[in-house]
């Protein structure tokens, strides 16, 4: 069986069976996963270069009549593959809580105010260098029912496609120095501390805009093809 995308990098992912995160208990599969060959079904994927992304999709502070309450921030970074190559023109979707830690979602019952000027959903396409950029409001921490006094560290959800079905990933971006990291079973589900750090954005004074917004850099690395693939013989 030949594998076009190396499996080594997958060790970065948390295990679905991570019992400290209670929702996994009845949802993580109990049977071992079966190794799937990388066929056309896995090595192709939807391409969204044609998707219309409006300016307000990338600026979550300008989606309503007024400005949202909270700390305005710039979140930017590059989407790369495991070989360090930029992933251009790929779709990045984000969603997040508002500055009070409340999601627009109907099932969020946290008694914190909604902001009529903030939805918290955005999308962007990376440029030719794999770079994306959002303007948003720094999300608040929020409580959840996993255990007594459980609070999620502030985070932004990221959904990415990359070039194939195999490169698809959904993850969360965190903010540096969050005191809740050590108590959060979702963040801690990644057992290697160095790998966890990949989800923590970096404050960037150079991208920060004077009298406007702090900036955070968050690079995302998607699965990449084997660096030196064996090619079919060409006809000459």
């Amino acid at each position: 069986m030949s594998l076009i995308y190396p499996l080594d990098g997958l060790k970065a992912h948390p295990a679905n069976a991570s019992p400290e995160y209670k929702s996994t208990l009845k949802r993580a599969p109990s049977q071992p996963l079966i190794l799937l060959p990388h066929t056309l079904s896995e090595t192709t994927g939807p391409v969204f270069g044609h998707v219309a992304v409006a300016e307000t999709d990338m600026d979550l502070t300008r989606q309503h009549a007024g400005e949202p309450i909270g700390e305005r921030i710039i979140v930017t970074g590059r989407v790369l593959d495991e070989n360090g190559r930029p992933v251009p023109h790929t779709l990045v979707e984000i969603w997040q809580a508002n500055s009070t830690g409340r999601y627009v979602h109907v099932r969020d019952q946290h008694p914190a105010p909604l902001d009529p000027n903030f939805t918290g959903a955005g999308r962007a396409l990376t440029d030719a260098n794999g770079r994306y950029r959002f303007v948003t409001i720094k999300p608040g921490a929020y409580p959840w029912r996993n255990h007594y006094n459980a609070w999620r560290p502030a985070h932004i959800h990221f959904s990415l496609f990359g070039p194939s079905f195999l490169s698809r990933v959904i993850t969360q971006m965190y903010f540096p120095g969050d005191p809740l990291f050590q108590y959060d079973p979702i963040f801690q589900s990644i057992t290697d501390a160095k790998v966890r750090e990949r989800l923590v954005s970096r404050f960037d004074i150079d991208t920060t805009e004077d009298h406007w917004a702090l900036a955070y850099q968050f690079d995302i690395v998607l699965r990449g093809r084997e660096a030196t693939p064996t090619e079919e013989p060409h006809e000459h």
Binding site: L36, L40, H157, F165, Q172, I186
Partner: protein, 195 residues
Amino acid sequence: MSTETRIESKQGLTPSQTIGPFFAYGLTPRAYGGQELFTEQVAAEGMSGERIRIEGVVYDGDGAVVSDAMIEIWQADAEGRFNAAGNAGFTGFGRCETSAEGVYFFETVRPGALPGQNGATQAPHLTVSVFARGLLVRLMTRIYFSDEAANATDPVLALVPAERRGTLIAERGADGVFRLDIRLQGEGETVFFEA
């Protein structure tokens, strides 16, 4: 030329995290009045091929329905071609939030057979991702169709123990709808892949 494009070195993969319970207003925002990039409609009316509907219920290990999952499919067209460029009428890609009853569905065209590895032919199938609260990494599975003779020689089904193959094969009802439930854990657990 930007120096950015010349950086090439081994990079550590960004780890996955759960989609959580509150993705809908971002990824499947119909109920919130948002514009949806992707829906359950994978093929426009008039696309060549047999129009089919596939649906099922997502269950957890207690047999409770999972009403906060997102299912995505990726598939070839009726001739077995992947439409990576997203031509008008057929994206090959669908996205569905499960309903309060745990139901997902897609309306599409039946995919054609397509090449596998080493000259093999793969039976028609959909490639499936399952995301949900409580899943830290998306689950990958496939949906095959019970009336396809090619299932008998499909190289991926052959990797699956015979007694579990049925969890990957949708049955056609008298109403013409293909049905396949997704069981995340326990009795009748769906086969999930690593790739």
